[in-house]
Amino acid sequence: MNASEITLFLVELSIILLFARGFGELLRLVRQPVVIGEIIAGIVLGPTIFGTIFPEAFNKLFVQSDTISIALHAITLLGIVMLLLVSGIEIDLPLLIRQSKKAFLISMLGVTFPFILGFTFAYFFPHQFDIINDEDRLIYALFIGTALSITALPVVARTLMDLNIFKSEIGFSIITSAMFNDLVGWIIFSIILGMIGSNLGYGISAGNLVLLLFAFIIVSLLFFRKVFDYLFGFAKKYLSNPGGILNIIFIIGFSAAAFTEYIGIHAIFGAFIIGIAIGDSVHLTEDVREIMNQFVTNIFAPLFFVSIGLRINFIQDFDPLLVLIMLTLSVVGKVLGSALGARLGGFDKYDSWTIGFGLNAHGTIELVLGTVAFEAGLINERVFVALIIMALTTTLTSAPLMKYFIEKTKTRFTLAGILNKEAILISDNSIMDKKLLIEKLSEKLAEINGLDKKLIFNAVWKREQALPTGLENHLALPHARCNVKYPTAVLAVHKRGIKFDSLDGKPAHLIVLLVTPVDKPELQLELLSGIVQKLGKKEIIDYISNLNSKEEIVKTINQLFSS
């Protein structure tokens, strides 16, 4: 590279990063994934817009110099290698191995359903995907199946965070299934790449390549995993921290990437698998992971995502029918497969749809997969564009659709969700004994939910006698675990106040009687903790106990719990 090429190359990098950041931030403002902004930045800078309006400037900047193109290609390759390394690090293998039956069903059906659908469609209708050569049919069908079964973990994680369901059963199931999808998807894809590699005549037969691939996976995950753990323990103790660990991670990551590239599978696969082995170390703390993610996703990943748009003309290669086919296959396969898995696993229908749409975000990982397949000559521009549009559309629609369904279900597990105006009792001052009040509330709860009032009262009273449930600030929470399917509650407002043996000795004005399933002790604690956090302040209890209508009380509680 001469001085002018170096200058142009650096200007190019600055422009790419500037546009990536600009569009990324714009998308972030409207609460959409940043990666979509980065792709749009590529489309704007690439032949689709900038290249059409200013062809000369575009050529000079991005096309003319072969040396610059090679340098940019090397950097974007580095970007995806690092992206896959950090993706691998976030795969929690022990978690996948001991995942519950529920999560396993979602993971399995979420992968197999779209895979079979995509494979079958591509195999029997190859002309739709411009496959003329019959020999390529199998590899191609395998690729389409894999492309449809992959889920983008980063986008999913972000959405779960935004919807505030990360630390919930649904969030946990979605995350573990997304990890599983990624793992299976990348293994199948690496086999496909191996098959292409052997077709291209790398000197290793497809069978041997697959054997080599599995040997690499097994040695990395069984043996290297242990070695890395010791290595990181050593680095933490004796090297500068976290610099030493970060350095070692990249040395290992690049070496593994070089190895898989050498044997004829793409470099990214080595980075991904070794990432899993690295991520299992107990010495790899959350802050190190976050630093890596910051570094990779803010500098190198944008270069890669923008570069996608620089390669092709999205208008010229846009095929609406193909996009429609891809989208239909994706939604039918991924959403239905995952939702069915969730339903079979015991989730209700709304939770199942939430999980289905959550896992349908193809996002970043699909873009990497598509780019590698495009570079390997497996797919043409038309299919590549369709794949990207499918990835972007599913990513964009995932969060709103999840939100729609989650709002229908998550309330069940807060007081606001299980309380309606029939469950409110504004007590006259005739009841001044807590036993009597608990009896009255038990009766109300039993009546609303079709339960045995004696059973409810006995359980709640037994618990109350063991340890009084009067808390501070005029709040009391009599509760018990009974033979019920879902948690249920009734609320009493006692204007004068009733003695509940509270911690601060004050009478209770707000009394919530809560009954939860006997086999879910943690759910009881979560509900109780939520009630204390939302209602446990004096001013809130004073406000509610001064309300005179049941509707107003329910409305206030809904507002408090939605904040």
């Binding site: 990324g24 998308l27 972030r28 994934p33 940043v34 990666v35 950090v86 993706s87 976030e90 929690d92 293998l93 022990p94 978690l95 191995i97 001991r98 973990l153 980063p154 986008v155 994680a157 972000r158 779960l160 965070m161 990360f166 630390k167 969030g171 946990f172 995350i175 573990t176 997304a178 990890m179 069984l222 299992d280 107990v282 703390t285 959350e286 802050d287 992971r289 976050e290 993610n293 910051q294 990779v296 996703t297 990943a301 970043t364 063991a466 340890l467 086999d519 002790p521 943690e522 604690l525 979560e526 109780l528 903790s529 204390v532 956090q533």
Partner: protein, 276 residues
């Protein structure tokens, strides 16, 4: 709390110490004591065993003795089932050699596979182990509630200085939220909210179980489950770690892809009581 205690004993310096500890535990729980020795019975060994029992302070009538030959771990487990033992006491090394850890030593096999509760005394050479600081892992399962209640009862009986309930939690994939427009402050803030929620749950859990009359400490730690508990027990100088473990939960695969309990088994931070 425990009605019948089994003690797996060998002819070693640890054997005598285990006998002494088991005698005291049997008195503490007012339980029967069954001394189990795996091996062929002959007159020499019988004399040796009687001497050891005598030296430990056990008197005739305080215990029963079972001789059984066979593979040590399996035989002990079988005797426990046959004798309806509800607490098996055994000694163990703090850390097994690597290969032994994977192939499974007698003590580790008992921890993983015994159908009753197991108390593992770490390096009990010539000392009576006193449980002053008892730490319990909390996961809110019904079995865990039993484990906490038993730890509390034990703490009362032992007149322990402190009972510590440790809740570990982790949200897999959290760091990757940084990838798409997230930032470390937001992640940290969310982690703090979860930490507060967990602390509140733990407080309510302790209240629910009515653990009064003892110094109680509640600890919530974010990190890999099992590993955090082990680290805490080690760092805070606990004498006993109590965990709940359903029967047949652990398989060989769990040793390869180590998780929660196996982190503790691979290097015992202190003596360990496994409640089943």
């Amino acid at each position: 709390m425990f009605k019948k205690i089994g003690l797996a004993v060998t002819f070693s310096p640890n054997g005598l110490s285990l006998l002494k500890n088991a005698r005291i535990l049997a008195q503490l729980f007012e339980a029967e004591l069954v001394v189990i020795h795996v091996g062929e019975k002959d007159s020499d060994k019988e004399i040796k065993m009687n001497e050891m029992i005598l030296e430990s302070g056990l008197k005739e009538g305080d215990y029963s003795l079972v001789w059984q030959s066979g593979e040590p771990a399996d035989t002990i487990i079988d005797v426990c089932i046959k004798e309806k033992i509800d607490l098996l006491v055994s000694g163990a090394l703090e850390k097994e050699p690597l290969l032994k850890y994977y192939t499974g030593s007698v003590a580790r096999t008992l921890m993983r596979a015994a159908s009753c509760s197991v108390l593992v005394l770490v390096n009990p050479e010539n000392k009576i182990i006193k449980f002053n600081k008892i730490c319990v892992g909390v996961d809110y399962t019904p079995l865990n509630e039993i484990a906490v209640k038993r730890a509390y009862k034990l703490a009362q009986l032992e007149n322990a200085e402190e009972l510590i309930l440790v809740r570990e939690f982790q949200v897999p994939g959290l760091a990757i939220t940084i990838s798409d427009g997230g930032n470390t402050e937001e992640t940290e803030a969310r982690r703090l909210i979860w930490q507060k929620e967990e602390e509140m749950k733990l407080k309510l859990f302790a209240e629910e179980l009515n653990l009064t009359g003892i110094k109680l400490q509640l600890v919530c730690r974010y990190g890999k489950e099992g590993w955090e508990l082990k680290q805490y027990a080690q760092q805070s100088g606990c004498d006993l770690l109590v965990i709940a473990l359903p029967s047949n939960k652990l398989k060989f695969f769990d040793r390869i892809f180590k998780h929660d309990i196996e982190f503790i088994f691979s290097q015992l931070p202190c003596s360990l009581l496994i409640i089943r």
